[in-house]
Amino acid sequence: MPPHASPDLPPEATSPRLHLRQLSKYFGRFVALDRLDLEVQPGELVVVLGPNGAGKTTLLRILALLQQPSEGELLFDDQPARRLPPAFRQRLGFVGHETFLYDELTVEENLRFYARLYALDAAAQRVGEVLGEMDIAPRARSPVRSLSRGLKQRVALARAWLHRPGLLLLDEPSTGLDPPARARLFDWLAACHRSGRTVILSSHDPAESLPLATRALLLERGRLALDLPDPPARLKEIEARLQAAN
């Protein structure tokens, strides 16, 4: 994942402006998100922090249009998310806790399949590029089931990056990666950010993720407890607050 991996933005992959209005999500009686109000401008790099069960994953899944809010509204460029056409998803890239990869297919076959789903031109060439960018080309012909957790995570990142989305939503993307791969991941995220894309990622480790961030959000029991600009300058304050929340 070299830091120079910051391709030009095609028009369909520009970053949308995000707006959450009193957004809540319930699972039975459990309140996962509680009346969130939030705006994210194009080009921000937002780190979402919080203890387990704070609502980070639910928030990212709702932003990825994989879950519907129970109440409130999610808007992309002032358009309600529920009214957006399927083509809008071309602008989103999501990496969750699961890889969304087919174990019985090889790395290359998985990526080619997703490239076809996203109707990418020159799919084979683009797959070759992301294999190189994510440093997984030597394992292109390996079945996904034979890969380590860290390598699978890199393939999952490649899958989300194939169509060069304008908005990257990453749920604890450094899970399973060794320290050098983590460093490359954050270099790559910085490059994505420099190219004008919006990146929203959740993390348990503020020291690792906040140096890159333009904004930090702290979720506590589904509520937005903290919304701070310039997180690198306030690392100690945020760490202390996170520790208290834990």
């Binding site: 399927p86 998803r89 071309q90 990869l101 087919y102 019985e104 297919l105 399949f113 789903l117 109707a119």
Partner: protein, 225 residues
């Protein structure tokens, strides 16, 4: 256009995965063969009786084997939550249904074409006396079961008792397809005129069209959490 591309992509992916693992076809074949053997030794029918009951036994075997295959086929999408990956794609969610429907139908048809001669040998029947019509009945009957089964395998994928839920949902609604397919097959195996099967074939075609369109329209709601 994106729907068609996504449908073809999902269908091709399933073919590739099945070619590698043979999960669905092997399970359906093994189960169907076991039922064929069990039926043969249970009934030992005369030639006349065989022609009267073979259609029913054949489609019962196909239906139960299909349940097994449909469960296996959708298990591929629940592992690593691949279904969520499909939902992220910028295509109509109905494309997921159509792609899975095509692959399920193809796998079931393939298994049925292998099992048919086995039944023919065990029951001492010529099942290919009217091959074109037999293929049409197989195609229409299998499509009907797959149209419902693909939808309900997605419904049951989100439940705790996935393997149990699919037959509970599918079997009652598949009864009309089963009856029409059995009646058509019985006509083809007997000396009765083809016109006797026409009504049932029309029924099967109508059922397939209605339920394919209905399931395709409802499928996006099934995928929502």
């Amino acid at each position: 256009m994106s729907t068609l591309r996504a449908t073809v992509a999902i269908f091709a992916k399933d073919l590739l995965a099945e070619r590698r693992t043979k999960d669905v076809v092997s399970a359906v074949l093994l189960f169907g063969f076991t039922i064929a053997v069990a039926f043969t030794f249970s009934f030992e029918p005369s030639s006349e009786q065989a022609r009267a009951i073979a259609g029913g036994l054949l489609w019962l075997a196909f239906l139960f084997a299909a349940v097994l295959g449909l469960n296996r086929g959708f298990a591929r999408e629940t592992a690593n939550q691949c279904l969520q990956g499909l939902r992220l794609a910028p295509a109509d969610p109905g494309a997921i249904y159509l792609g899975k429907l095509l692959s399920n139908t193809l796998f079931m048809l393939f298994a049925e074409l292998v099992l048919l001669p086995v039944f023919g040998v065990f029951f001492n029947l010529s099942l290919w006396a009217r091959p074109g019509w037999m293929l049409l009945v197989l195609l229409l009957g299998t499509w009907g079961v797959a149209a419902l089964g693909t939808m309900f395998s997605a419904v049951s994928a989100n439940t705790r008792m996935q393997e149990l839920m699919l037959p509970l949902l599918l079997l009652p609604l598949a009864v009309p397809v089963l009856i029409a397919a059995i009646e058509s097959t019985t006509v083809l195996l007997s000396d009765r005129p083809l016109a006797d099967a026409a009504l049932w074939l029309r029924f099967l075609a109508g059922f397939d069209i209605i339920f394919t369109v209905l399931c395709w329209l409802l499928f996006p709601y099934v995928l929502e959490e």
